[in-house]
Symmetry: C2
Subunit: 182 residues, 2 copies
């Protein structure tokens, strides 16, 4: 038996991350999955439940990554994190934060709360890994970890967006600069 719920969630994530939350409908899910729209409402009563589930899934995947990297040198962990964006770029997907963040003010409250939590978690992990790298004498930058963390997260996030708009070089340039200035 096919896991319809998982299929719905995976396709919803793909649609959100390639078109945006407001640019896909239940039909965009039901037609390719060959189910009726009521089947989607059975698993996710409202569209916002689908949105929340997609954000939660992304948070959990990230947390699993962070947990699996535990013990690795800070430099390696940071480069693994950056590699996620390169993989996204190759499959022409932007990250969930880049897809949903711009529409923040038009999102249901539950989605906004999850998005804020996700953003804080990623930022906190980045600050933590930068501090760890400083302690390990692996990173040598003069700015504060808050400044460095915010530049890394923002430039990676927007690179995926601009890659689609102006071409494929943006992420490569950004990754190259981060590697040189860390």
């Amino acid at each position: 038996m096919a896991d319809t719920k998982q299929d719905i969630l995976d396709l919803a994530e793909y649609l959100i991350r390639s078109r945006g939350y407001h640019a896909f409908s239940y039909k965009d899910l039901s037609t390719p999955l060959k189910v009726k729209n009521a089947a989607i409402h059975y698993h996710f009563p409202a569209k916002k439940d689908l949105g929340v589930a997609v954000i939660r899934k992304n948070i959990e995947v990230l947390q699993d990554c962070f947990a699996n990297w535990e013990g690795l040198p800070a430099r390696e962990q940071l480069f693994n994190f950056i590699e996620i964006y390169s993989l996204n770029s190759r499959s022409n997907l932007i990250c969930f934060m880049g897809a949903l963040g711009p529409a923040y003010q038009s999102l249901p409250e539950e989605m906004r709360a999850q998005l804020t939590e996700a953003g804080l978690q990623i930022r906190n992990w980045l600050k933590w890994i930068l501090n760890k790298g400083i302690e390990e004498n692996a990173f040598h930058f003069n700015e504060t970890v808050e400044e460095k963390a915010d530049v890394i997260i923002t430039s990676l996030l927007a690179s995926l967006i601009l890659n689609r708009v102006t071409g494929d070089q943006v992420l490569e340039n950004v990754v190259s600069l981060i590697r040189q200035t860390i």
Copy 2:
């Protein structure tokens, strides 16, 4: 006589930059402006015409800025450019590229073309001003101008997005780092 067309365009820009292209309707324009939806179709026959007009307006405003700054030292021009983002942040607006870029694949072809053109123009100006600053001995960075330009534009763009999601410090941190590493 009120300039309805300009009012429509201004409100459409506000709605796109606070909610996104797919999250506003003709009703969101007609109700506050106290006109009927047909009045909007009179000035902008299709929704995509409104989208194209908003992008074009933003391109022209930017080009006017660049023209007005001509003659100023590169450092001052770059800081003026950064100041635009601080102003946007204070009025809780993201830039048109941050609002429309994530939905790129779901936008009408005419809008995509304008968006790509806008992205290339901004990137080219940034590269040009960075080169100018190097010639003036005002900038001292070791990376390529392409890398530096891409990090500046992406981190500013995404700072406005993350400021809304996680709080108000992101843009300040990013601006501080850019100023230190230029």
